[in-house]
């Protein structure tokens, strides 16, 4: 009997510790997500922004020792054509890629398995004072003939956040400027919230102040269904129905624009906005309403002068959560915003958002490479935004608003 009691106590203790452990589960999950995302993402800043296994070489007398990735890209795009723009001598830049070696030597000159390639590259480089050669490290030109390796800068935080060009697969230097993606995300979310907030607030007021029980019983499931429709279905609907409509209505070359994305995102954010705002409005004390009505105010005056100000913090929380929904949405946006990674100048242009970029490119990015890391860094941004939004919305909805009355 005593033994059974002891066994029972042990099981009880064990179960309790198991329960405690599972209580910590979400905290552990958040911790893990943070670690994995940031570890992978920040790897981007730790290696030079040049394709893995490649190097850039110049003539030993060339004073240029290091280059910014953007300069490298511009040199190979022939937008920078003179070394003096980069602090070198006044001579035209001669761009050299590994394939160009056949302009100087035949296959036989290079020996078996290209064993003579490093030596020949050395000759080519020492013959041209204005050369920049982009070659695999495996065939790095021998120094004896005269060549100098140029250091390419690592991508920096400001390159990432302020860079205007997102060219993650460009050679020799990929560019990871996330500004167009960040602005695209903000633009689409802004359009969504501008459309959804007044609409959602109106419905919330109707549901909590005006609708009778029957109407509410009908509308509540409607809103829940709207929230339940998978985002890929919204994307499909947007692609087949809304995008052509937008194209026709505004006479555009393509229907997949920031505006189209904002429109669909507005619908997707509505259920969140409505339910949070409705809760806030419903929580206004009846005494407040009655006091206002007793003073002779109409029902509408009571709503917009008493109820809405009182529910103000809850309504702002609704707006913030709605934005959060829009910022993180992936599939619908991927399908209907046109996916052009350029800084938009109007809302009727294709844009590309952060989540859509991750979804579109992660499949093709080699695991562990810079492109892969840059997408994780984008994930870090999204993760941080969602954390901030979650904490801010909690803070505002907790704040009492008696003062504002």
């Amino acid at each position: 009997m005593a033994q059974k009691n002891l066994l029972g106590k042990i099981t009880e203790k064990l179960t309790e510790s198991l329960l405690t452990l599972s209580g910590a589960l979400t905290t552990i999950a958040i911790l893990f997500i943070t670690i994995f995302l940031f570890k992978e993402g920040f790897g981007l800043f730790k290696s030079p922004a040049i394709e893995d296994g490649y190097g850039l070489y110049v003539h030993p007398e060339n004073p240029v020792n290091q280059l910014h990735p953007l300069d490298v890209k511009n040199m190979y795009d022939e937008e920078i054509i003179n070394w003096n723009e980069l602090g070198g001598a006044n001579q035209e830049i001669m761009v050299f890629r590994i394939d160009d070696v056949f302009d100087y030597y035949t296959d036989e000159d290079l020996g078996e398995n290209y064993s003579l390639l490093p030596e020949k590259l050395g000759y080519i480089i020492s013959d041209h004072k204005n050369i920049i050669a982009y070659v695999p490290e495996e065939f790095a030109p021998s120094v004896t003939q005269g060549s100098k390796k140029v250091k390419v800068h690592n991508t920096t935080l400001s390159d990432f956040f302020l860079g205007k060009e997102w060219l993650p697969t460009a050679t020799p230097s990929p560019l990871f400027g996330a500004l167009p993606l960040i602005l695209g995300t903000l633009l689409v979310s802004l359009i969504a919230i501008v459309l959804a907030l007044p609409l959602g607030l109106g419905v919330a007021v109707y549901l909590s102040e005006l609708a009778d029980e029957r109407m509410r019983k009908f509308l509540k499931p409607v809103i829940e269904l709207l929230a339940g429709i998978p985002s890929v279905v919204y994307g499909f609907f947007g692609l087949v129905v809304v995008a052509p409509l937008v194209q026709k209505a505004f006479n555009l070359p393509v229907g997949e624009t920031a505006f189209t994305g904002g429109l669909i995102l507005a619908i997707m954010a509505l259920p969140t906005i409505i339910s949070v705002a409705e809760d806030a409005i419903r929580n206004t004390p009846t005494a407040m309403r009655e006091a206002s009505l007793a003073l002779g105010a109409t029902q509408w005056q009571t709503i917009y002068k008493v109820v809405i100000p009182y529910a103000g913090s809850g309504i702002s929380a609704a707006a913030v959560l709605g934005i959060g929904r829009a910022v993180g949405e992936t599939m619908a946006v991927l399908m209907i915003t046109g996916n052009a990674a350029v800084i938009p100048s109007t809302i009727f242009e294709p844009v590309r958002t952060i989540p859509a970029t991750i979804a579109a490119e992660l499949g093709e990015a080699p695991s562990g490479g810079q492109h892969f890391q840059s997408l994780f860094l984008l994930g870090c941004i999204l993760f941080l935004i969602s954390m901030i939004i979650s904490i801010v919305s909690e803070m505002i909805s907790k704040k009492k608003t008696y003062k504002s009355l």
């Binding site: 419905v203 429709i229 998978p230 499909f236 399908m335 979804a359 992660l362």
Partner: protein, 284 residues
């Protein structure tokens, strides 16, 4: 008079907004149903895609989604319910509970594509599960965990304290009370949360993109380490990257209809269960 007119105008506008929302739902559902219904047939539901996804059926995608739902629930339901038991029955109301609740809310607000990234980094690469049903299920399970925790917490809180006191007064231990008294009475409400999660999990695309989803598989998955097709991803593929977009459109409509039917049936089930349960509680 002026005030009365303003009130009338405002209320009219709000009513209009509400009908507008109903209109949106009807037009989305109507569009999918009208275009998809003619595609649905026994063959569509039980055969594999053929001819570069322009004909045949979506059976492998249905099976894949079924596996993913089961897999994620096996992981998320026990852990979620246990976590809820801890916060409602054990942890009291101090700092720890507030912190845990904040973390649960934070996890709930993490965008689904971030779960996809995380699942890929941890389950697919680090733990070397590869693109597999296991990795996808764990990722989806993590995604739905906050929902299960939240609904379970509410369910447990709805159990009257008199039940607990009664059981404890009869000499039952705390654990016995939870197992034999609290959990059984909270079970229907917990189930509502589980049903909601089924709807959520079967519709998610972003988390499975890089953890399990396959474009096309000739055979059904044989083990939890195999890739699988899934309905939402299949719809995405059909809508955007098929070999012949025009020809695969009917398939896309059909897939969308099946997907939306599954998701909405589970959502409606949860709604009605909740309404009935609320009524029952009120009667008590």
């Amino acid at each position: 008079m002026n005030q009365k007119f303003k009130q009338k105008a405002a209320f009219f506008l709000f009513r209009l907004f509400s009908f507008f929302i109903v209109g949106i739902l009807i037009s989305i559902l109507g569009f999918i149903v009208i275009n998809g219904i003619s595609v649905i047939s026994w063959e569509f539901l039980t055969e594999s895609p053929t001819d570069g996804m322009t004909s045949g059926g979506i059976f492998p995608a249905i099976v894949g989604t079924f596996y993913l739902v089961i897999g994620s629930l096996i992981f998320a339901v026990p852990l979620g319910v246990m976590s809820a038991i801890y916060t409602t029955e054990y942890a009291g109301n101090g700092f720890i509970v507030r912190f845990i609740r904040m973390m649960t809310n934070n996890l709930a607000s993490v965008p689904s594509i971030v779960f996809g990234l995380f699942g890929m980094a941890l389950f697919v690469n680090k733990l070397e599960f590869g693109d597999s049903i296991l990795a996808g299920s764990l990722t989806l399970g993590l995604l739905t965990l906050p929902l299960i925790i939240r609904t379970s917490e509410e369910a447990l809180k709805a159990v009257p304290d008199s039940y607990r006191s009664g059981s404890l007064a009869l000499g039952a231990s705390k654990l016995q009370t939870i197992r034999k008294v609290v959990l059984p009475s909270a079970l229907p409400n917990i189930l509502t949360g589980v049903i909601l999660s089924i709807g959520r999990v079967s519709g998610e695309t972003a988390p499975i993109l890089f953890t399990v989803a396959a474009y096309f598989l000739p055979n059904l998955p044989q083990s939890i380490f195999d890739q699988a097709m899934a309905l939402p991803y299949h719809l995405y593929v059909l809508a955007t990257s098929g070999t012949d977009l025009e020809a695969s459109r009917p398939m896309a409509y059909g897939t969308a209809l099946v997907l939306i039917a599954i998701v909405l049936i589970f959502n409606l089930m949860a709604t009605f269960m909740r309404q009935r349960l609320n009524k029952k509680f009120k009667q008590n």
